[in-house]
């Protein structure tokens, strides 16, 4: 209701007679590159594009719920500003492109909740570096996207602001935790989005919603201004309609940031430049632990066809093994929850966030946290606190860190023999809303193919590779060597050129 009223009031203020009829242009389905070319050739203005997408948001949000906060006034003002830039001859690839970002990114002056009640009224005093880089290149912010609370979840059912639904089948989850970021791209509610990935939170929703999602190497993109979940695993990445757009966003956000001491100071390649080099002679590894018996038959079939496509394109396949794969989920849920329990100690009701009425300080901490956090966040804080508590520290936390070393060594060894790995993203297509919410362990196990990449710290991408018999998208995962995003982007681009999966649209 509030969103509808805002858009209508803005549209009334604007002189609509200056806006051309753009109904034949299908703005909402455009890629960054397509919209850029329309903006540059003046076939379309950023204001026209932004209005079309805001109207789309108004129309489909009741069914999808991708957004926590829509920012129409700011979006229209930025679009006008972008049009002035374009008129004066300054039109870089992102100028005037309407984007949306996960509500985990701090945005100065714009409410940022991280999907939690505890931050319901939090207005950040500064912005995330990754968002600033997009904004400085002229991108238009449409709003802040729904997510599992503090990025803890695989289905978006753990948001305090309602469940995001999968645009391909609204009875299914969009994946998580960047579920809003994936659903918005799939439902035509943003040209592209940013998400974050701690254990698969970009790749798994990208796979379930039929878009492209890249988790860069740890350290490649600044985490400054990204609300922390598990600091040794969190990474920022693009979610887009095709691989070229994914490269374009990575070109904009990658690089060292003095404000993030874990960002890596090494040269950033031009990711868009090497896309078209093809995959002839590329050595692709197939880890046997990822092609297990329990794999959904539609996922299995999709992988078999993808392998065939790559073979036709001239890639070579090598059977490999990552022997510690089966230990990754257990390792992750000890390390991530331990880091989370420490990171979330800052929510104490003192400086920002929800404060409960209380008679003394301890009661204020305890009540504020207990009222502000949802069940999954409490569960993970409890697990992490347990794993770090005296008597269990060595048996759980240190043990998991040692197994993490073994998992990393698996990756290092395999990358002596192959350039990339090809695997499924998730064992099944999107599951039904409510199906796994009461069984946390089953929910955690749905991330089995994405978690090892975060533990190893390397890069991986999900891209559309097929559909289930029920019409749900299925993604394939390409895993690259650390800081070799170029090769997975190139391999993804070659696949996309040879297939048409990425061109299919959800009918919502």
């Amino acid at each position: 209701m509030r969103l509808a009223a805002l858009i209508i009031s803005f549209l009334c203020q604007k002189s609509l007679n200056k806006v051309r009829d753009t109904s034949n242009m299908n703005i909402i389905e455009m890629t960054i590159h397509e919209l850029h070319s329309a903006l540059k050739s003046k076939k379309l203005s950023s204001l026209e594009a932004t209005i079309a997408i805001l109207e789309r948001i108004k129309a489909v949000e009741p069914k999808v719920s991708s957004f926590i906060t829509v920012t129409p006034e700011q979006a229209l003002a930025s679009a006008k500003n972008a049009d002035e830039q374009i008129a004066s001859g300054h039109c870089n690839l992102l100028t005037g492109i309407p984007l949306a970002i996960k509500d985990i990114f701090l945005t100065e002056g714009i409410r940022t909740t991280c999907g939690s009640r505890i931050l319901e009224n939090f207005i950040p005093p500064y912005s995330a570096t990754s968002w600033e880089k997009l904004r400085d290149r002229g991108a238009v912010l449409l709003g802040k996207l729904n997510q599992d609370e503090f990025a803890m979840g695989s289905s978006n059912e753990c948001s305090a602001y309602g469940v995001t639904r999968n645009p391909w089948d609204t009875t299914c989850i969009p994946g998580g935790s960047s579920g809003g970021s994936a659903a918005a791209v799939a439902a035509g509610e943003a040209i592209a989005t940013l998400g974050t990935d701690t254990g698969g939170s970009i790749r798994q929703p990208a796979s379930h919603c039929g878009c492209v999602g890249l988790k860069p190497t740890y350290g490649r993109v600044s985490r400054y201004g990204v609300i922390a979940y598990a600091s040794s695993l969190d990474q920022v990445g693009p979610m887009t309609r095709d691989v070229a757009d994914c490269a374009a966003i990575l070109d904009a956000i990658a690089g060292y940031d003095p404000k993030d001491s874990t960002s890596v100071n090494m040269p950033v390649p031009d990711y868009s430049a090497s896309l078209k080099e093809g995959v002839k002679g590329l050595k692709i590894g197939l880890p046997k632990e990822y092609f297990i018996d329990g794999l959904d038959p539609d996922v299995q079939k999709t992988m078999t066809e993808a392998i065939e496509t790559y073979r036709r394109l001239g890639a070579e396949f090598i059977d490999i093994s990552l022997p510690h794969t089966d230990y990754a989920v257990a390792t992750y849920y000890l390390i991530a929850t331990a880091e989370a329990s420490s990171n979330l100690a800052r929510y104490d009701g003192v400086r920002f966030g929800h404060r409960a009425e209380a008679g003394n300080l301890l009661e204020m901490y305890t009540k504020s946290r207990s009222e502000g956090f949802g069940t999954e966040v409490k569960r993970r804080i409890m697990l992490g606190t347990y794993a770090l508590s005296s008597g269990y520290y060595d048996a759980y936390y240190v043990k998991a860190q040692k197994v993490r070393t073994l998992i990393m060594n698996d990756f290092i060894k395999v990358f002596n023999d192959v350039d990339v790995m090809l695997t499924p993203v998730a064992p099944t297509p999107a599951f039904k809303i409510g199906e796994k919410i009461n069984d946390p362990l089953q929910m955690y196990l749905s991330d089995i193919f994405t978690i090892p990449v975060n533990l190893a710290g390397t890069c991986a991408m999900s891209l559309p590779a097929g559909f289930s018999a029920n019409g749900l998208p299925i993604g394939l995962q390409l895993i690259g060597k650390p800081f070799d995003e170029e090769t997975i982007l190139r391999a993804g681009y070659a696949f996309e050129q040879a297939t048409e999966w990425h061109t299919r649209k959800a009918s919502i």
Partner: protein, 95 residues
Amino acid sequence: MKISVVDVEQVARLARLELTFEEKELFATQMDAILDYVEKLKELNTEGIIPTSHAVPMENAFREDLVMPSIGLAKALANAPGRSDNFFSVPKVIE
């Protein structure tokens, strides 16, 4: 059962969380199942393995010790649930 309701209460105290009776029962059961699952890590011999806390090998990140602008009092206090002059206010700590 590795985890009892009493254990849950102890961990909740450490984590500054107050749980309802239903939450305590639920977490005891669920944490028990999860801890049972992570027991599988014990199958691996990790003797002599160096623990990994960070995936990318890095030196400590030093910077020049320079005076830089900060966000300032107004912005720093803007989200404060309670404030008094230029301070965050909290319930009385010392009697």
